[in-house]
Symmetry: C2
């Protein structure tokens, strides 16, 4: 098993994982507000958002020409770009980096797409190990209820339509997400992710998160 | 050491490697003409040419924001795109694929850029092993004489300017190429590349190549 070594930068890296509808982004936004209010320098980093690679992943997705391997490698390039240009500089300067999704998203999704589990872990070998990695566990039907009501059409890759799971987009999405849930469960054990019960009230989840984060803030400088 | 397994497609994959100015592209073009003249279905594949990724590598290069890791991963994505959409389909249909540069280019360049040798080999784990992999060995000064006379300004990454080897582009290019030559020499042993003395007359190099290729054509269907 591959072990990512703990980083030695003065900052802190906090990541959240979970399927869509798990509420992880809401929780991270609340944590962000709290930490900023406490005077810590906080930086946000989102999956699949690097300026360098965004163009091509969105182009590849639009044309539906990405294979599992190119899907994996372009996202890895995107991730590497953010790690090296955003995450590490912020950690080096003693800041707190909050990352919405991290390498575990790739491990879950890419493996469901048929990529070799060991290979994708090796591809991401350059990643910085999070100080705290949260996983928001939620039953599939709860997540689906939160998502499918309130949003527009599901996108092709988001629904795993490239996997030929079903001709129906919503049905494909369900099967795809259930497979990802299984991967996440395995990742919890493999990487020691901190599980938060995402069916609890928002305030309670946030309180659990803050308690664990607070424990890791000792010695961190504040900006005001 | 990582071993790529021999492919089981009916076609043949022939690759050429060497530093710029080694004459490898000329040799591949001559081989192409000969094979096509013999009636074989031939397909050409060039390094760094995938429609999917080309845009971003050229954009990243123009802005000089690529790190060794993102440089490696975007080229790997480019390569994967070509392997899966061009090379494998052509091999599957019994064609001959001629590839100008292959994974060994990445192994040489990326390692000179400071990327971990084992990691880059693992990233390219999905590659198809060539039927024949030629390496055109040429002393640095011969290659430089061929190149520096006849061309326009060297490009930033091509000259390895991202490595801070020298402030002078031409000097940087020389140091960079000499480091790549050393990597190639190691790759010859590791992967059993077929060495062609690229200081010999063009016709003689081509004759050596054709003799080896001819041995691998038995059973291959012709189109006319």
């Amino acid at each position: 098993m591959l072990r990512y070594s703990q980083h030695r930068f003065p900052g802190r890296l906090i990541t959240v994982e979970g399927i869509d509808g798990s509420g992880k982004s809401t929780q991270l936004a609340l944590l962000h507000r709290w930490l900023a209010g406490e005077g810590y320098p906080v930086r946000f980093s989102e999956w699949n958002s690097s300026a360098l690679v965004k163009q091509i992943t969105s182009r590849g997705k639009k044309k539906q020409i990405l294979t599992p391997t190119t899907f994996c490698l372009t996202h890895a390039a995107d991730f590497a770009d953010r790690v090296e240009h955003d995450v590490i500089p912020a950690l080096r300067s003693g800041g707190i980096v909050l990352s919405d999704r991290y390498i575990y998203t790739a491990f879950a999704r890419d493996v469901v797409r048929g990529v070799d589990p060991q290979w994708v872990r090796r591809v991401y070998r350059f990643a910085v190990k999070p100080t705290l990695a949260f996983y928001f566990r939620v039953p599939l039907d709860v997540a689906l209820g939160r998502i499918l009501g309130g949003r527009n059409a599901l996108k092709y890759y988001e629904a795993g339509m490239d996997l030929d799971l079903s001709n129906d987009v919503e049905e494909s999405f369900k099967i795809f997400q259930s497979k990802i849930l299984k991967q996440y469960d395995a990742l919890v054990k493999e990487f020691g992710l901190i599980v938060i019960d995402a069916t609890m009230p928002i305030e309670e989840q946030q309180a659990q998160m803050r308690a664990l984060v607070k424990d890791k803030l000792a010695g961190l400088k504040r900006i005001n």
